[in-house]
Symmetry: C2
DNA sequence: GTGTGTGCAAATACTTTGCACTACA
DNA sequence: TGTAGTGCAAAGTATTTGCACACAC
């Protein structure tokens, strides 16, 4: 684990403790797995990784801890189509996801324009947007489309 | 059932038969339930309604038929957050959904601008958009926000 | 008639929960 | 040391499937 990750875990633990959450061996293991994860693992995968740190961690505890951390806004749960929920730490800025239908890879992106439009649309219907979900299920484009060189990065957008 | 619905069911049955799909009592029952549904019922609710027409319809058959109809693009499945999948006939134009977090009500909307942006974003990342999912989880706005009188209906957008 | 569709019950996949024991604060 | 957390096994929820019988074409 890099120093960065160790720091991230320490900060998370401190914040949780301040909120009265006990840091057990199992929770510490899961927190460091989550901090180290650059991807979007599901509960089973997180369990597998946590076991490498502490073999005693059970799958129930993984689920219980994930729910707890979700409630504390430490992790975010994503229920993509026809697959178990996948998790990521909630420290990054809000973003949406592109799911590669062939590989299952998840690419993060953010579009200021889409965020704005969504809020507008909700308001137009007399609603206040609490949260949203936007997933683009895609397949790698052919040679013509989406040439990297032609790409114009729009202000307010980024690639995750 | 209105004449419109009867016609809709007849057209669906014809189209399915032409594709070699047998129209059984159970499938006919489900088709008429689907044609009559103005909402987004889940499998259990569709089962309940289908039983009113033909008491012999089993839940397995409802699931099997829904999968079949989904494959034939006759119905669309929507897996909203933390709830069983909900279904609607696929005859209407493509649209996205606002989900009222308090009542579970589903409001349909369509935004040409969002559709365009999604395709653009996928292309920018070297992907071809196969399909997407966009759901706005909302709560009724307070008296200030979203005044109906102030609403500007943007070209290309409609309310379902 | 014949092959597809059906009901039923059991299986599946993911997730939650009851209970007795453990360990953090 | 007391209460919140844990592992385990069992239950729960949504959905799918194997099998013998039924029925649409």
């Amino acid at each position: 684990m890099s120093g960065d990750q160790a720091q991230k875990v320490a900060a998370l633990e401190r914040a949780l403790r301040d909120k009265g959450v006990r840091i057990t061996r199992q929770r510490a293991a899961l927190l460091s797995v989550l901090a180290a994860a650059g991807d979007h693992p599901d509960a089973t995968e997180l369990h597998r990784r946590a076991r490498e740190i502490d073999a005693s961690v059970s799958l129930s505890t993984v689920y219980r801890t994930l729910s707890l951390l979700e409630g504390q806004s430490v992790v975010q749960r994503h229920a993509f189509e026809g697959a178990p929920s996948r998790f990521e730490t909630a420290d990054a800025a809000h973003h949406d996801h592109i799911i590669d239908l062939e590989t299952g890879d998840v690419i993060e992106f953010y579009s200021e324009r889409i965020e704005r439009l969504q809020a507008e649309i909700a308001a137009e219907h007399g609603y206040e947007l609490v949260h949203h979900r936007m997933e683009l299920y895609c397949r790698k484009a052919g040679p013509r489309a989406g040439k990297r060189g032609r790409r114009r990065r729009s202000e307010g957008d980024f690639e995750g």
